[in-house]
Each structure stands twice: as C-alpha cells, then as structure tokens.
C-alpha cells in the first residue's frame, strides 16, 4: 500500500471534532447585542474590511488585543452555482467552475471537464491532456503569486504585492493568448480544449520560466530573510496534524503540517503520472512553513511546465465538432483535482436527462476556513490577519 492512500485513510478514519462543529457558526451573533461582563468586547471584522479577502466576516471577542473567541461568518457571495448546474445541460455549466475560485479558474474548469469526461467515458487527445496540465500549473503559480502578494500586504509590506503582481501579469498574458481570458477561464471543454495554443506559446512560456526563477531570487532577498517577516511568521498559527485531519484540510496548508497529501500524486489524473515532480512538505505547521511550502510548490510547478513543453505532442486538441450534448450514464461520480488551495472535487449525480441531476462541489477553502476558529484562540489581532492570510482563502469558492 502506498503512503498516499494511507494518508487518505487517515483522513477518513479521523474522528470529527463535535465539540467545535456545532458550537461555532451562529453562537456569537446574539451575544453581540449585550456587552460581556468580564471586560472583553466584540470586534466585528468584515465583511467590509481591507484584509478579509473579499467578504469574510470575522466576529472576534477580544480581551485587549488578545482573541478570546472567533467566529467566521460566511455566505456574503453566495451565487447558487450548484443550483445553476441543475438548470442547464452539462455544457452550460462550463463557465461556472472558474467563477467559484477566480484564482484557480483554469484548474476548476479543467477539473469539471475531467469529472464529466471520466464519468461518461469521453476520450481526450494527448495534446489536449498535456496542454491542460501545463495551463493548470501556470494557473497554480499565478494563484500562489497572488497569495504571496496579499499575504505580505496583510503583514504590512506593500512592495512584494506589486512585484508579485507584475510577475503574475506575465502568466495572465500567456494564458490570455491561449484561452482568450485572463481570470475566469473557460478553456477546456468536453473532449479537449476550445482552441489550440498560438505558435509563440512555447517560446513565451520558456522566457517566462527563466524570468520567474530570477524573480524568486528577488523575493527571497526582499522578504524571506527579513527579521520582521520571520518574527511575524515563525511559530504563529500552528496547525496540528490532528486539526488538519479532523477538519479535512488539504493542499499546501496540510503539507505545511507534514501531511504529504497531494491529489496529483494520490489520485493521479491528466498528464501528472508522466511528469516528475516532488510534493514539498514541512513539519512546523506555522505561517512560515506554509510560506515555504507554497514557494517550493511554485518551483515544482515550473518544473512540470518545462516537462510539458518538452513533451508536447502534435495533433488535435479536441473533437472536430465541439461536444455540446454529452450522453449521460445514470449514476454517481466523483472526481477530484489539486487546486492551489487543496482538494477540489466534483460530485455528479446524473440520470438519463441531458441536465445533471445534482452537482456538488467540494471546495478546499471551506474546510480550511473551518479550522480558523480553533486556531485563532489566544492569538493577537495582528496574528489573526497573518493566519488568515497564510491560509489563503478565496471567499466565492467557500460561498459558491
């Protein structure tokens, strides 16, 4: 038995934490009306707050600057994506997944296509498989770069934010040249890709890889060795393996706590079985570990992109006529991919109709955010922001 499936079993076997789950969500709100008698007070952070990453609302009970209790309140950008899926045919849901997680749009788009293709046995040409993997990894880098920028912005450093955005811009341009959109992609469709990449795609990507490796050096010079940055991150917001398993946290957050679970390795899909890459892990589980894990992941992603470019086969990128109406086989299907934030899964229930009977998205940030309440207790207000930033949540993906 491989180590990956042992990790999966550990997730499944771990008992949930009932003392936390029913206590949170909704318990603090009525207490906001009256002031507590023990000298603590409530602070309502968000949904309009500069560092709540969109529309998260955190209710904090503070003792001076110390957080006594915390409750994340979600749902401010709920758009009923799952319901939308039921109202049209499978192809009509294609633009939606990339709008759930606007930072990992390509991965969500590809993930949904792969789920449908796997469920209904649709063939994908080899070139499309490689290109999808390539674009997904570029997308992962762009997401991690944005995380790097906003995390440092949360810590009060403005310059890394702009540096990261300048480099991210190059990825967006490359993906734009291929797919025609910059953020919410609808590049993959059933059976392949909508379009082939332009001629100079490989050349531009190689140029970008070179520049990005140099840029990583700049980031490390500017940020990684900085004393203030180290002090803000080291030993702050430690997530134990127990917490990770009980809340089902995945992705870089889990790997920073020493759980080497990566869907790309555990349940390989696409071109990943063919390429060489490592799954970086750390054991500390603090903000700094999450920072390092994400940086190493970006370097691994660059490696994957290079290998994909080297082994990009010629041929068609999809069926001659776009496959609009898939023929569903009744049944229940689940397919998951590794998004920049963890395991993104698509659960599809199909009957004979061309519309899906039900689509349920398993989004990683929801699980990751659930652990916040437990992690924040006893920290300072400034740490709250640092921990929230280090977890890398995307609100529309939580609310869907």
């Amino acid at each position: 038995m491989s180590t990956e499936s042992a990790t999966l079993k550990a997730y499944a076997a771990h008992p949930r934490t009932p003392e936390y789950a029913p206590l949170r969500f909704g318990t603090l709100t009525p207490a906001l009306e009256q002031a507590p008698e023990d000298g603590t007070y409530y602070l309502n952070m968000g949904p309009q707050h500069p560092s709540m990453h969109g529309v998260l609302r955190l209710l904090l009970r503070l003792d001076g600057e110390k957080v006594v209790e915390c409750e994340p309140v979600i749902g401010y950008s709920h758009r009923a994506h799952e319901k939308m899926a039921e109202r049209g045919i499978f192809a009509q849901f294609l633009p939606n997944p990339s709008r759930m997680d606007y930072l990992g749009g390509m991965i969500y788009n590809v993930g949904y296509c792969q789920a449908v293709e796997r469920a209904f046995s649709i063939e994908v040409p080899e070139r499309a498989v490689v290109l999808r993997t390539l674009c997904c990894e570029l997308n992962r880098i762009s997401s991690h770069l944005l995380w790097f920028g906003t995390f440092l912005l949360d810590l009060g450093a403005f310059t890394p934010f702009l540096l990261a955005f300048q480099d991210r811009e190059k990825i967006l341009d490359i993906l734009d040249s291929a797919s025609g959109s910059r953020l919410t992609y609808c590049y993959a469709n059933f059976g392949g890709l909508a379009l082939d990449v332009p001629e100079d795609f490989a050349e531009r990507t190689r140029q970008y890889i070179k520049e990005q490796r140099a840029a990583f050096h700049t980031y490390h010079e500017l940020v990684t060795g900085n004393v203030i940055f180290r002090q803000r991150c080291e030993g702050v917001g430690i997530i134990t393996q127990d917490t990770i398993l009980s809340y089902g946290m995945t992705g870089p957050n889990a790997r920073a706590s020493g759980i080497a679970y990566d869907v790309r390795k555990a349940e390989p899909y696409g071109f990943y079985p063919e390429v060489e890459f490592d799954v970086p892990t750390r054991d500390e589980g603090d903000c700094l570990a999450r920072y390092f894990v994400r940086f190493e992941e970006m370097e691994q992603s660059l490696r994957i992109v290079e290998q994909c470019l080297d082994r990009l086969p010629e041929g068609p990128v999809g069926p001659k006529k776009p496959l609009v109406r898939v023929k569903p086989k009744p049944g229940e299907y689940y397919h998951c991919v590794e998004s920049p934030r963890g395991q993104f899964g698509m659960f599809i229930v199909a009957d004979k109709d061309p519309e899906p009977w039900r689509i349920k998205a398993r989004t990683p940030s929801f699980s990751n955010l659930s652990a916040m309440a437990e992690m924040l207790e006893g920290t300072m207000v400034a740490d709250t922001i640092a921990i929230l930033g280090s977890i890398d949540i995307v609100m529309p993906e939580i609310d869907r």
Partner: protein, 335 residues
Amino acid sequence: MTALLDTLEGTLGGWGTTLLVGFVALAGLITVNAMFMVWFERKVAGWVQGRLGPMEHGPQGTLQTLLDVVKLLGKESIIPAQVDRKVFLLAPVVAFLPALAMLSLLPYDNNLTMTDVESGLLLVFAFGGVSLMGIFMGAWSSNNKFALLGGMRAVSQNIAYELPLLLSAMAVVLCAGSLNLGEIVAAQTGENGLWFIVMQPVALGIYLIAATAETNRAPFDIPEAESELVAGFHTEYTGMGFAVFFLAEYTYMFIVCGIGATLFLGGGDGPLLPGPVWFILKVYFLLFLMVMARWTYPRLRFDQLMNLAWKFLIPLSLINLLATAAVLKFVEVGS
C-alpha cells in the same frame, strides 16, 4: 522686501515682526513640505516597486498632491452620530498645532531660529508629547472600536519610544554640553568641530528607529495598521479632518528628521552651499531613509514593537549614554 520689513517693524516692533514673518514662513514650509513629501514618497515607492508613480498632472506628476488637496477640501466632512462632537473636531487641531511650535524651535542655520530657547531640545520633545494627545482624543471621541484600538496602541507606542528617543538625544547633549539646539550645531561646526554622527553612530541608529516609531511610520505604523485596524485612530475622519492628521504626520516627519540633522549631521554645516540649503538637504536625506524603510519592511506586531523598545532600544541607549558620560569624564580628567 526690506521696505516692507521696515514698515512692519515700525508698527509691530522687532519681536512682533519676527513672530509674523516666522509664522508665515513656517506655514509655507509646512505646506510645501507636505506637498513635496507626498509626491516624493509616491515617486520613491514607484521607484522601489518598478513603476512610475504619479505622472498625469504636471511634469512628473508634481501637481498630483495639489489636486489631492483640492479633492480633500471638496469632500464632505462626515461627523458620525455616535462621536463626542467637540473632542472629535478639536482632535486634529490638537494633533497638528504643536508642530508649528516645534518648527519654530528648529535651527535652520547657525543663527536662523525663530525662537532661540535655552532648553530648545527639551521643549521640542515636550511639544511632541502634546500631539499624542490629539491622536488619542481623536481615537477616543470617535467611539469606534478600531479607532480605540489604534489610539491605545498609539499611546503605549509613543510612551515607549519617547524614552530611547530622549536618551539617544541626551548622549549628544552630553557631547555638546548644551540643550540649546543652536549651540549643539555650533559644537559640531567651527575649527575642530566634528559632526556627532562620528562620535555617536549608535545614538543615531537608535534615534532613527525611535523617530520612525514616534511618527507612526511603517514599519511601526501600528496605530493605523490598515490591514488590521482599517485606518486606526483616524478611521472615522473624512475630508479635512483626515487631511489635517495627514498633514501633521508629514510635518512631524520633517521635524524629527530636522532634529536628527541638527543633532547628528551638523545642522546647516557644509561647504559651498548656504546653510539652510544644507539643512534641508540633510533633512530630506533622512526622510528618504524613512520612506525607503516604509516600502521595504513588513509591519511589526504590537508586542514585538514593545519588546524592541523596552528590551533592546532603551537598555542600549542607556549603555550608550553611560559610556558617553564615562568617556567624556576621562577626557576631561586627562586634559
């Protein structure tokens, strides 16, 4: 010009003329400094971050700040319902007014001081304490939790950092043998005068760190920490109320750097160029360092900031002060 001054002297007397001319000049200095500093800061930020900074209005965007001021003037001043009105309106003024007094004490050249006070250095720091009152008044009267947190942070931070600031300045005072800012400059110029940066490099370092913290500038901008406290103590201020706080911040930056230039860099001392020009150049050099720090470092956490002051800067400045005193005594005994 001379005729105008003569007329003034005839009607107001010598002292009155000094006061009038001085305040007009200082008002000009404050405005021009704030205008220039905001532009300068944006340009340096752009340079650090690989972009251009303001470019649209005027050559190299020099008129950008002027237009920003016009925009702020045109904005509605919203006074929220829950605030303590009188204190809320008074707070920006209290925060800003001491700046005028402090500027009038600075020696812009050997003899160019508006009010030459024997214990000028002490007075400057004392006025600095008053401005803190304004910040806390604004925070408290806002009746807003973010503002209150910012105000509490501002008070404890300023009290903690006033000590290393004063202690590092005291080391210079020991060397110069006077609290008079003019005499401190005089001790650094002349025949065998030496800028105190040579004798007191440690004190200069402590002074710069403490001064950055005193003016609530990044990486010590904890009272306004926008990623945590929205805007800290001035969360509820709009339009001109905010603009006055903003103006105060930039004026205090000029003042602390002015004192820094006076204490460590010989004030208006320098070859070829006239004294005031040297003084301004030195001040803007120090300001450049402050701006660079802001665009390079992340923000400290509150407890780390306190640890830095109480566990590191204050002991270090005390040691520096004692060492300076000991050396001076030995030199005195030896000669």
